[in-house]
């Protein structure tokens, strides 16, 4: 990576750096094309949809090209010092962007199956959809607190609007109001936390902040303000992950939104925040000088572990008594966020710190979760479009009314439980293996919690399966668009393929979770220079002195 180590402005290969960020640039251009399309070609819904799909495929191709360039190590963009890079690109961010774009294409296909050429407001819908995708792509490619906030808002603001997109829907309006208020409050608190951290550390760069935090906790400096600031930042991230106690928006927003929007938000908005959390935690574990100091981060490990436990348990218990399948899957998505969080808790442990196995587990979980949720929500969408209901009763006797929908739905639900022959089992297994490798009280307790939650979740997923296969109240056969049925079946087949091809799948995921941009590749010398150049700020008494 000769261009990553350049030391002067004229040494930066600007072209190379811009190329590294080309998938995001392609998404931006897609948004502009959607604006231009009604003026130049036409406002037809399908026309706009085609333009968007074209843009997404173009961005996807660019992702694979960039993935080849950064395979051996990431780079931090358009900056003389890598530690000051606002955006960065590495295997993890490229891997997530590939997932994001594949999923975006899937969601657009789902929309296509349920829309007509005369549908109004298609340009606005797609601008918001691609805009939130751009925000999520930025969320995973930064190690700078300012950029994190901006990226989270770029992802959130279009999501608020998407949830309330159907202006005639009362439930949509209410859902977007709740989502927006909760999001605005969390973003504001996060920003206040960022301002406190900036005052203490004198930098917005996460590696510098991690180094400073570890120093403070080892040396015993001004810990209170730092802890408050970090808690505020984690609260903002927890809102996006929908971790307990910041999960209240999730079921309401998901139930009130259009089903395509629910599908979109249920996977990627959480996954993006999780990857962002993983990046922050990686920097923290890289800042630890030795294994002895590792115990300093025990409070963070315990916090993440407890939040993960409560999140998955609460998600599963609340899902159990839902009558609306859409809302049930919304709670199930909270539970799955908990499973993924438990993989994140492992990151800071000495025995696994620095290895990529928890990141592999998390990335693999996201891949599998993407396909099983697309399949499950796709079926809910097709049933909902035909019967006008997302209640459990609308699914009665689906095996007779639409066998080509019922069978993949059963497969997706089995995979959501985590039963063998489906990829959900592989994903859960990897999480359990990394928890087992971590060992200790936290590891084993988390493993037991994951397993018992899995057993419990079997019950409410089975309710849908039983309703579809064993009961029949003589409802008329379902008319579903062939495209939607095809999409759902492809998802189910992919889930089986990923189970039987677990080894190649593992290799693919490992390829995207190694050689990450860490504090050491961000040239630790640079990180230290930044911290040293502002001695007043790193001095805990600086604030008191400034006041006198």
């Amino acid at each position: 990576m000769e261009f990553a180590q350049s030391t002067a402005w004229d040494g930066i290969a600007v072209g190379e750096h811009l190329f590294a960020f080309s998938p995001m640039i392609a998404l931006t251009v897609t948004m502009l094309a959607i604006v231009a399309c009604p003026l130049l070609i036409g406002r037809g819904a399908r026309t706009i949809g085609s333009v968007t799909v074209l843009g997404v495929f173009f961005a996807l191709i660019l992702c694979f090209r960039v993935g080849g360039v950064v395979a051996d190590g990431g780079l931090s963009g358009l900056s003389t010092s890598p530690a000051e890079g606002i955006l960065l690109v590495d295997n993890l961010s490229i891997g997530f962007q590939i997932l994001l774009l594949v999923f975006l294409a899937g969601v657009i296909l789902l929309w296509w199956a349920g829309s007509s050429e005369t549908e109004k407001n298609a340009p606005e819908f797609f601008i918001l959809l691609v805009g939130s995708a751009l925000g999520m792509a930025m969320m995973v490619s930064t190690a700078n607190l300012l950029m994190m906030v901006i990226a989270m808002e770029t992802a959130s603001l279009p999501s608020f609007a998407l949830v309330g997109f159907d202006k005639t829907s009362r439930r949509g309006a209410e859902a977007s109001l709740k989502y927006m208020i909760f999001g605005a409050v969390c973003a504001a608190i996060m920003l206040y936390g960022v301002s406190l951290i900036y005052g203490l550390v004198g930098s917005l760069s996460v590696p510098v902040i991690a180094t400073y935090t570890v120093d403070q906790f080892m040396g015993g400096g001004n810990k209170l303000l730092l802890t408050v600031g970090l808690l505020c930042v984690f609260a903002g991230i927890a809102f996006k992950v929908s971790a307990v106690p910041f999960h209240f928006w999730c079921p309401d927003a998901f139930e009130g939104a259009k089903i395509e929007v629910t599908t979109w938000l249920s996977v990627v908005s959480k996954a993006a925040a999780l990857v962002m959390l993983v990046r922050v935690l990686t920097f923290f574990s890289a800042a630890i000088p030795n294994a002895f100091a590792m115990s300093l981060l025990d409070p963070i490990v315990w916090t993440v572990a407890i939040v993960a436990t409560v999140t998955m348990t609460l998600g599963n218990f609340a899902a159990y008594r839902q009558e609306s399948v859409k809302r049930m899957l919304a709670y199930s998505s909270i539970a799955h966020a908990g499973y993924m969080l438990s993989a994140a808790a492992v990151l800071l442990h000495p025995s696994v710190a620095g290895s990529e196995s928890p990141i592999t587990a998390l990335l693999g979980y996201v891949v599998v979760y993407l396909f099983m949720n697309l399949g499950a929500f796709g079926t809910v969408a097709l049933v909902g479009w035909d019967t006008g209901s997302d209640r459990l009763d609308a699914f009665t006797g689906l095996i007779r009314r639409a066998p080509l929908l019922a069978i993949p739905m059963v497969m997706c639900l089995m995979s959501l439980v985590g039963l063998p022959v489906f990829a959900g089992f592989v994903a859960k297994w990897w999480v359990l293996v990394s928890l087992g490798k971590m060992g200790g009280t936290v590891g084993w307790v988390l493993a037991v919690v994951v397993v018992s939650n899995t057993l419990f979740s079997l019950y409410y997923y089975m309710r849908i399966v039983v309703k579809m296969t064993l009961k029949d109240d003589g409802q008329t056969p379902l008319r579903a668009s062939p495209m939607g049925v095809g999409l759902v079946n492809i998802c189910a087949i992919v889930l089986m393929v990923l189970f039987f091809a677990a080894d190649p799948f593992r290799h693919m995921t490992e390829r995207y979770s190694k050689n990450l941009v860490t504090a050491s590749t961000l040239s630790s010398a640079d990180a230290i220079t930044v911290a040293d150049s502002s001695p007043t700020a790193t001095d805990p008494t600086a604030i008191e002195r400034g006041g006198n």
Binding site: F160, K167, R170, R171, A184, R327, S534, G547
Partner: protein, 103 residues
Amino acid sequence: MTIGLTHYLVVAAVMFVTGLFTMMTKRNAIGILIGVELVLNAATVNFVAFDRYLGPDRLDGQITAIFVIVLAAAEAALAVGICINVYKNLSTVDVDRANSLRG
């Protein structure tokens, strides 16, 4: 008495607490948004004050402050749009009356 960093931080902290209190007690969506704006502006004051007092060559905080102002404007525009939509549908912007989604 000269005005120093502490004074600015106290003003910001008061704004933060006021905003937090507003967000927790108000039932009107617009009221909650005013609380959010207070918290965002508290962060802005912090950023600018830290830059001014903790080093002459700092610019990150000032730049962040500008971004926060733009962010607050974008959020307010969208939030008011959503509030209008809610008012059209429910004839109220009281968050306690928006209760058809529950469980």
